[in-house]
Symmetry: C2
Subunit: 294 residues, 2 copies
Amino acid sequence: MEFETRLTEIADKVTVALDQLIPPAQGPEADLMRAMRHAALANGKRMRPFYVIETGALFDADHKALLRTAAALECVHTYSLVHDDLPCMDDDDLRRGQPTVHKAFDEATAVLAGDALLTLAFKILASDETHNDPAVRLRLIERLADASGATGMVGGQMIDMLQEASPRDLNTITRMQRLKTGALISYSVEAGAIVGGASANAKHALAGFAQDLGLAYQIADDLLDATGDQNVVGKTLRSDEAAGKANFVTILGIEGARERINLLAAQARQHLDFFRGRANILLHSVDYVLDRTR
Amino acid sequence: MEFETRLTEIADKVTVALDQLIPPAQGPEADLMRAMRHAALANGKRMRPFYVIETGALFDADHKALLRTAAALECVHTYSLVHDDLPCMDDDDLRRGQPTVHKAFDEATAVLAGDALLTLAFKILASDETHNDPAVRLRLIERLADASGATGMVGGQMIDMLQEASPRDLNTITRMQRLKTGALISYSVEAGAIVGGASANAKHALAGFAQDLGLAYQIADDLLDATGDQNVVGKTLRSDEAAGKANFVTILGIEGARERINLLAAQARQHLDFFRGRANILLHSVDYVLDRTR
């Protein structure tokens, strides 16, 4: 219960922060800002901001600095959804319970709104209003670029695109997901640690936690895609099935996928032993991932 | 002659730098890096890198720092070309004398290669290999995000998209171009000044120079679009005419556009008086802009 309250609180704060950070809709280009707002202010779970803020709290990091860092990360996550949903990519109509940006506006606006959200993320992190010292800000920017660029998220999306309808084995899918979704989830935990000035050992434990959690989260996502209710989940489901794409569930089966999630969740919890009970809220977040699939 | 030699020298150095900065083409996602290289290593004039480096040289700035800053800026310029050429945007087949990225690869790869180039720009600027001190790196990042995001280049492209085939007056077109192309040209000059630690007065003179030059450059581009030889220019021409779009030439006429360019060029040169003959290479660059249209 405490976990879900915190998740909702953080989601609300991040939405307010994004509302202030995205430029107002003005001039002939106003639809660009409207599209950015449509995507970024929609009802998302805000899991990545949650991990930034709760990881940073472990080290008593400044809350304002964490919130802005979380908002920047959510801009990157949102841009990736807008571009992934494009007709030339996954061609999805529904996202966060509402029409995708290219449906609500048009394709050109969706490309540009994504571009602008990505750019805004770096603007937010570079700004001195972020209250981090310059070295911390630069580290956050460099690691975000690593996690989201060609050797991270965008690279993973490229693999996903190329391998549609072609046979994929477990190793290929695992690497693709580590890049496509894992890198940004790992960044969310790392960012909290960077802002909080965590020790190398603490960072190492958190990196292990994030890697196991990220993979569990993705397998849970594939389970949800196979078994969930579209009206509850708020995005197009059965998309892998429709595209003839292999994923964790088509390879492991539903029971095999559940077992794998449980194993990864146990490992993720073990990494948190390092914090000796001070990371309870992160522990609860693991249960939340499990609960999504029940 | 000196000017063209310098422009070629800088173009070659920037291409070598980009070749080293773009990740190698490896793994199943190799086409992503190939597409980034296709776009970024193609034969561009590299005007923006030229202005970064030659403006920085006015203040004896570190050459390595300038070159990496220039390479980052060229990544942003290149990404904007890749996305602007997409079928849902300007739908162009030819760029820098070769097929556009979505023609040589496909649309999804073009979207992702653009995303990855934009992300790489911020990675390059944040990295300590850039040899700038942290405050300078942060300032470069923040101003690049301003110049290229929703309130800069992307905002300008949005106006350009929305107003296709709708009536446009000189004020609207001037504002659109100030955002779409002017902001990044201004940034190129500002970046050199930031890296070089220029005084506020020097920055002010350079900002005036860049604003007049950028507008002259865009009017010259419209002239070239109306009167140039596609085989020489290396990109699709008569595109505004084909789309029924108003531009500086359709509004001012060919002679009126030439007059306006001459006026702006004279103003641009005046701003350089501040440097009392030390900005000769920048002066010559103004002639180059004029020469393009003769």
